[in-house]
Chain length 249, copies 2
């Protein structure tokens, strides 16, 4: 049990390829009279991570395949955009009602392979980072080197979910924080052994950051202070459901 | 953009049927030198709501049908428990690997119809509230009447999700807060029209509360302060995906 603060970090300038996000975040914190504390979790939105890694595609330079053209026509989408979506996917999970749900090369199941036209500028689309866990580790390294504090970093994106309208922000990469809290084997106050409970704290932190940041003001980072989490090097990748256990393949 | 605080509310006694949860929460707040402020969101865990509404079943009194016995055997579960799960379900969505995913009478797709053995006492299981939106409205009424402040209430439960290991807390009922923030039609800073973005803030708040509360210390409520949300009477029920739009039926 702990009181938690979720603090948006405004003032980060438009991110260019090669930008050192850790440095930009620390500068913005300083401008807001904030500094990192031991154990802070820094949430960074996927879009700026992708920009810093050059994961942008100019749609005018994309030549769609016949398969992309066909799917685009069926779902009422731009064929060049669908081509990019298919290139980022290992399979189309579902398509219908103008929505294309794919499994990305990372193993994420999400709309449009995470390819996104918002907040990137005219004619461009942003892809997901190639290895979001590595992105988180790199940003964490930059933050820890410059601040001398041990922190965790979560890279987040906005995903829909089946059976419910609306989206929530979830973790797509993490570093310095165990993605799950393992309660299995622990007892409740009546002595009952909890069996399967493993809260995905990285996803809950991702959502909490979104609450504070919103979508329209171009703020790409938040500081979460007071969460009691397990330090560790487990990757976000480790909580992707393996096909052998996946009831929804 | 806003700084958010997530404050656990300890000190609520074991909840009995007929308990006035609003009063219990206000008393616990007072003991913690806290009081409600205009616009606060109060998160209440499903378990205490179910207890206050008498939604408990004694397993020794349940007689399983042959169908429940068969499914229980296949998934390695207790037949009486499976009987209760099936009574709460309109259909079994998936079963395998010892997991039973159902659609509940409310339309939620979740493990075990939300029927849960933890934190209820030996031999008992808790069902979901019959109408969690009504539960939230009732608790909100109690809180507003006693405090004179306008607040929102979210009733939450812990759900798994496809394709990812681990669970997050999500909203199963709400009152006084619009479940989604509609960004559709709004422009990003480059002038791009956002099209489908509708963050499910009630679910993000549910997860944020879980981060502060945890699972083992018997704290059934949290206060979330500083979230900018839209007041309104839309129910959580309104964000359940209608079958006609559901790609995962």
């Amino acid at each position: 049990m702990s009181r938690i603060e979720v603090i948006p970090v405004p003032g980060i300038p438009e991110v260019k390829q090669g930008a050192d996000l850790g440095v930009l975040i620390l500068e913005a914190l300083r401008e807001n009279s904030l500094s990192l504390e031991e154990g802070d979790v820094v949430v960074v939105k996927q879009k700026v991570v992708s920009k810093s890694e050059g994961q942008l595609v100019r749609l005018s330079e994309v030549v769609p395949t016949p398969a992309a053209k066909k799917l685009a026509k069926r779902e009422g989408k731009d064929a060049k955009l669908v081509e990019v979506i298919l290139r980022e996917a290992v399979r189309v999970v579902r398509a219908g009602h103008g929505v294309i749900i794919t499994e990305t090369r990372h193993g994420f199941v999400c709309a449009n392979s995470g390819v996104d036209q918002s907040n990137v500028g005219k004619g461009l689309v942003a892809l997901l980072p190639k290895d979001p866990d590595a992105s988180a580790r790199r940003i964490r390294g930059e933050l820890e080197a410059a601040s001398g504090k041990r922190v965790a970093v979560i890279v987040t994106d906005t995903f829909g979910r089946p059976w419910r309208i609306g989206q929530t922000d979830v973790a797509i990469g993490c570093s310095g924080i165990a993605p799950l809290v393992p309660y299995a084997g622990k007892k409740d106050k009546f002595g009952y052994h909890l069996r399967v409970t493993e809260p995905a704290v990285v996803d809950e932190i991702a959502g909490a950051a979104e609450l504070a940041i919103g979508k329209l003001n171009g703020i790409p980072a938040a500081l979460i202070r007071g969460v009691s989490y397990t330090r560790g090097e487990k990757k976000l990748k480790s909580i992707i459901m393996p096909p052998s256990r996946d009831l929804f393949r």
